[in-house]
Protein backbone atom coordinates (compact mmCIF):
# COMPACT_ATOMS: atom_id res chain seq x y z
CA UNK A 1 0.00 0.00 0.00
CA UNK A 2 1.20 3.48 -0.80
CA UNK A 3 2.47 5.45 2.16
CA UNK A 4 0.24 8.43 1.46
CA UNK A 5 -2.29 8.82 4.23
CA UNK A 6 -4.93 11.49 4.16
CA UNK A 7 -5.75 12.69 7.65
CA UNK A 8 -6.48 15.81 9.63
CA UNK A 9 -2.75 16.24 10.03
CA UNK A 10 -2.37 16.39 6.26
CA UNK A 11 -5.10 18.82 5.37
CA UNK A 12 -7.31 20.87 7.60
CA UNK A 13 -10.70 21.17 5.91
CA UNK A 14 -14.02 22.22 7.31
CA UNK A 15 -16.22 22.55 4.23
CA UNK A 16 -15.28 19.29 2.54
CA UNK A 17 -18.32 17.52 1.11
CA UNK A 18 -17.00 15.37 -1.73
CA UNK A 19 -13.96 13.16 -1.38
CA UNK A 20 -12.44 10.79 -3.93
CA UNK A 21 -9.52 8.71 -2.81
CA UNK A 22 -7.89 6.19 -5.12
CA UNK A 23 -5.03 3.92 -4.01
CA UNK A 24 -4.16 5.80 -0.88
CA UNK A 25 -5.04 5.46 2.76
CA UNK A 26 -7.45 7.44 4.82
CA UNK A 27 -7.54 8.04 8.54
CA UNK A 28 -11.10 6.93 9.20
CA UNK A 29 -11.17 8.72 12.54
CA UNK A 30 -10.77 12.14 10.90
CA UNK A 31 -13.53 14.51 11.88
CA UNK A 32 -13.85 15.99 8.38
CA UNK A 33 -15.42 12.70 7.27
CA UNK A 34 -18.60 13.57 9.16
CA UNK A 35 -19.41 16.40 6.76
CA UNK A 36 -19.09 14.33 3.61
CA UNK A 37 -22.06 13.89 1.30
CA UNK A 38 -20.19 12.01 -1.43
CA UNK A 39 -17.42 9.51 -0.88
CA UNK A 40 -15.57 7.46 -3.46
CA UNK A 41 -12.75 5.14 -2.48
CA UNK A 42 -10.74 2.65 -4.47
CA UNK A 43 -7.93 0.44 -3.30
CA UNK A 44 -8.17 1.90 0.18
CA UNK A 45 -9.43 -1.31 1.79
CA UNK A 46 -7.10 -4.20 1.20
CA UNK A 47 -7.39 -6.13 4.45
CA UNK A 48 -10.34 -7.30 6.52
CA UNK A 49 -9.04 -5.15 9.37
CA UNK A 50 -9.31 -2.08 7.12
CA UNK A 51 -12.88 -3.08 6.34
CA UNK A 52 -13.78 -3.27 10.02
CA UNK A 53 -12.43 0.23 10.62
CA UNK A 54 -14.26 1.47 7.54
CA UNK A 55 -17.54 -0.12 8.61
CA UNK A 56 -17.16 1.32 12.08
CA UNK A 57 -16.65 4.81 10.64
CA UNK A 58 -19.40 4.65 8.01
CA UNK A 59 -22.39 5.17 10.34
CA UNK A 60 -20.70 8.31 11.68
CA UNK A 61 -20.89 9.90 8.23
CA UNK A 62 -24.52 10.82 8.69
CA UNK A 63 -24.76 13.24 5.74
CA UNK A 64 -23.55 10.67 3.23
CA UNK A 65 -25.74 10.49 0.15
CA UNK A 66 -23.45 8.65 -2.22
CA UNK A 67 -20.91 5.92 -1.56
CA UNK A 68 -18.85 4.61 -4.46
CA UNK A 69 -16.53 1.74 -3.63
CA UNK A 70 -15.12 1.70 -7.16
CA UNK A 71 -13.24 -1.58 -7.53
CA UNK A 72 -12.76 -2.15 -3.81
CA UNK A 73 -14.91 -5.26 -3.68
CA UNK A 74 -13.50 -6.66 -6.92
CA UNK A 75 -10.01 -5.98 -5.65
CA UNK A 76 -10.73 -7.89 -2.50
CA UNK A 77 -12.20 -10.87 -4.32
CA UNK A 78 -9.21 -11.03 -6.67
CA UNK A 79 -7.10 -12.24 -3.76
CA UNK A 80 -8.06 -15.90 -3.19
CA UNK A 81 -7.50 -15.74 0.54
CA UNK A 82 -9.70 -12.67 0.72
CA UNK A 83 -12.68 -14.01 -1.16
CA UNK A 84 -14.62 -14.23 2.07
CA UNK A 85 -13.79 -10.59 2.59
CA UNK A 86 -15.93 -9.58 -0.38
CA UNK A 87 -18.93 -11.35 1.09
CA UNK A 88 -18.25 -9.83 4.47
CA UNK A 89 -17.84 -6.29 3.16
CA UNK A 90 -20.73 -6.44 0.74
CA UNK A 91 -23.03 -7.95 3.35
CA UNK A 92 -22.09 -5.43 6.00
CA UNK A 93 -22.61 -2.45 3.73
CA UNK A 94 -25.87 -3.86 2.45
CA UNK A 95 -27.19 -4.27 5.99
CA UNK A 96 -26.09 -0.74 6.81
CA UNK A 97 -28.16 0.84 4.06
CA UNK A 98 -31.06 -1.62 4.07
CA UNK A 99 -34.00 0.03 5.85
Amino acid sequence: MNSIVLSENTLNVSALRRLTLIASELDWTSSFLRGLTHLKIGGCISEPSDARIFLRALPEITLLESLDLDDTIEFASAVPSHQYFRTFLFGAIWSLFDP
Binding site: N2, I4, L6, L11, L16, T20, L21, I22
Partner: protein, 141 residues
Amino acid sequence: MYIKDAVTLGPKEKYGINGASRHAWIKLTQVFRLWRDIAICAPNLWSGIRISKRNYKWANAMLQRSQHTFLNVHVNFVGFTRRTRGKYKDIDTALSILEANLGRCKALSLYNVRSAGFGEFFPPPNHYAPQLHTFRIFVAI
Protein backbone atom coordinates in the same frame (compact mmCIF):
# COMPACT_ATOMS: atom_id res chain seq x y z
CA MET B 1 -19.73 39.10 -19.15
CA TYR B 2 -20.59 38.27 -22.77
CA ILE B 3 -17.26 36.63 -23.34
CA LYS B 4 -17.74 34.50 -20.27
CA ASP B 5 -21.17 33.48 -21.52
CA ALA B 6 -19.75 32.65 -24.93
CA VAL B 7 -17.10 30.50 -23.33
CA THR B 8 -19.54 28.77 -21.05
CA LEU B 9 -22.22 28.17 -23.64
CA GLY B 10 -19.97 27.39 -26.58
CA PRO B 11 -19.20 23.85 -27.75
CA LYS B 12 -17.02 22.28 -25.09
CA GLU B 13 -14.70 20.60 -27.51
CA LYS B 14 -13.74 23.97 -28.89
CA TYR B 15 -14.20 26.60 -26.25
CA GLY B 16 -14.98 24.97 -22.91
CA ILE B 17 -12.70 26.05 -20.12
CA ASN B 18 -12.27 22.45 -19.12
CA GLY B 19 -12.85 21.08 -22.59
CA ALA B 20 -10.67 18.80 -24.63
CA SER B 21 -8.80 21.62 -26.28
CA ARG B 22 -7.06 22.93 -23.22
CA HIS B 23 -5.85 26.25 -24.50
CA ALA B 24 -8.67 27.06 -26.91
CA TRP B 25 -10.21 29.53 -24.49
CA ILE B 26 -6.93 31.42 -24.37
CA LYS B 27 -7.50 32.19 -28.04
CA LEU B 28 -10.31 34.46 -26.92
CA THR B 29 -7.68 36.81 -25.63
CA GLN B 30 -6.06 36.83 -29.06
CA VAL B 31 -9.06 37.86 -31.13
CA PHE B 32 -8.56 41.57 -30.63
CA ARG B 33 -7.54 43.95 -27.88
CA LEU B 34 -10.98 44.66 -26.44
CA TRP B 35 -11.72 40.96 -25.94
CA ARG B 36 -8.29 40.49 -24.46
CA ASP B 37 -8.78 43.31 -21.97
CA ILE B 38 -12.22 42.04 -20.99
CA ALA B 39 -11.09 38.42 -20.71
CA ILE B 40 -8.04 39.20 -18.62
CA CYS B 41 -10.17 41.23 -16.23
CA ALA B 42 -12.74 38.41 -15.81
CA PRO B 43 -11.43 36.33 -12.88
CA ASN B 44 -13.90 33.51 -13.42
CA LEU B 45 -12.32 32.72 -16.79
CA TRP B 46 -9.07 31.92 -15.03
CA SER B 47 -10.35 30.05 -12.01
CA GLY B 48 -10.07 26.57 -13.59
CA ILE B 49 -6.36 25.91 -13.29
CA ARG B 50 -4.56 22.85 -14.62
CA ILE B 51 -0.98 22.34 -13.64
CA SER B 52 1.15 19.71 -15.29
CA LYS B 53 4.51 19.30 -16.88
CA ARG B 54 3.00 20.36 -20.19
CA ASN B 55 1.15 23.52 -19.22
CA TYR B 56 2.86 24.82 -16.13
CA LYS B 57 3.78 28.05 -17.91
CA TRP B 58 0.16 29.19 -17.65
CA ALA B 59 -0.30 28.50 -13.96
CA ASN B 60 1.27 31.67 -12.60
CA ALA B 61 -0.54 33.95 -15.00
CA MET B 62 -3.84 32.20 -14.37
CA LEU B 63 -3.50 32.39 -10.62
CA GLN B 64 -2.83 36.09 -10.87
CA ARG B 65 -5.67 36.70 -13.30
CA SER B 66 -8.10 34.73 -11.17
CA GLN B 67 -7.64 37.47 -8.55
CA HIS B 68 -9.61 36.47 -5.46
CA THR B 69 -12.17 34.14 -7.00
CA PHE B 70 -12.53 30.55 -5.86
CA LEU B 71 -10.35 28.05 -7.69
CA ASN B 72 -10.87 24.67 -9.30
CA VAL B 73 -7.38 23.21 -9.49
CA HIS B 74 -6.12 20.07 -11.22
CA VAL B 75 -2.54 19.03 -10.66
CA ASN B 76 -1.04 16.18 -12.66
CA PHE B 77 2.17 14.93 -11.12
CA VAL B 78 3.33 12.89 -14.11
CA GLY B 79 6.97 13.70 -14.76
CA PHE B 80 7.07 15.68 -11.56
CA THR B 81 9.22 13.80 -9.10
CA ARG B 82 11.84 14.71 -6.60
CA ARG B 83 14.56 13.61 -9.04
CA THR B 84 13.46 15.82 -11.93
CA ARG B 85 11.80 18.55 -9.99
CA GLY B 86 14.80 20.84 -10.09
CA LYS B 87 14.57 20.94 -13.87
CA TYR B 88 11.16 22.54 -13.80
CA LYS B 89 11.47 25.58 -11.61
CA ASP B 90 8.31 27.05 -13.04
CA ILE B 91 6.37 24.13 -11.64
CA ASP B 92 7.97 24.70 -8.27
CA THR B 93 6.93 28.33 -8.47
CA ALA B 94 3.41 27.47 -9.58
CA LEU B 95 2.99 24.92 -6.81
CA SER B 96 4.28 27.38 -4.25
CA ILE B 97 1.77 29.96 -5.38
CA LEU B 98 -0.93 27.31 -5.39
CA GLU B 99 -0.01 26.32 -1.88
CA ALA B 100 -0.32 29.95 -0.89
CA ASN B 101 -3.75 30.08 -2.55
CA LEU B 102 -5.02 26.84 -1.09
CA GLY B 103 -7.33 28.88 1.08
CA ARG B 104 -9.48 29.81 -1.92
CA CYS B 105 -9.54 26.38 -3.55
CA LYS B 106 -13.10 25.17 -3.97
CA ALA B 107 -12.11 21.98 -5.74
CA LEU B 108 -8.73 20.29 -5.83
CA SER B 109 -7.81 17.23 -7.88
CA LEU B 110 -4.41 15.60 -7.63
CA TYR B 111 -3.57 13.01 -10.28
CA ASN B 112 -0.72 10.50 -10.41
CA VAL B 113 0.37 11.50 -6.96
CA ARG B 114 3.39 9.78 -5.54
CA SER B 115 4.52 9.92 -1.96
CA ALA B 116 7.33 12.33 -2.69
CA GLY B 117 5.17 14.72 -4.69
CA PHE B 118 2.42 14.74 -2.11
CA GLY B 119 4.83 15.20 0.76
CA GLU B 120 6.33 18.21 -0.88
CA PHE B 121 3.01 19.70 -1.80
CA PHE B 122 1.42 19.19 1.61
CA PRO B 123 4.24 19.20 4.11
CA PRO B 124 3.19 19.12 7.73
CA PRO B 125 1.96 20.96 9.73
CA ASN B 126 -1.63 21.46 8.63
CA HIS B 127 -2.67 23.33 5.57
CA TYR B 128 -5.96 25.08 6.05
CA ALA B 129 -8.40 24.94 3.16
CA PRO B 130 -11.64 26.38 4.55
CA GLN B 131 -13.37 26.61 1.15
CA LEU B 132 -12.43 23.18 -0.13
CA HIS B 133 -15.63 21.42 -1.12
CA THR B 134 -14.34 18.68 -3.45
CA PHE B 135 -11.06 16.86 -3.07
CA ARG B 136 -9.79 14.07 -5.31
CA ILE B 137 -6.57 12.12 -4.97
CA PHE B 138 -5.45 9.53 -7.49
CA VAL B 139 -2.22 7.92 -6.39
CA ALA B 140 0.12 6.60 -9.06
CA ILE B 141 0.57 2.87 -8.63
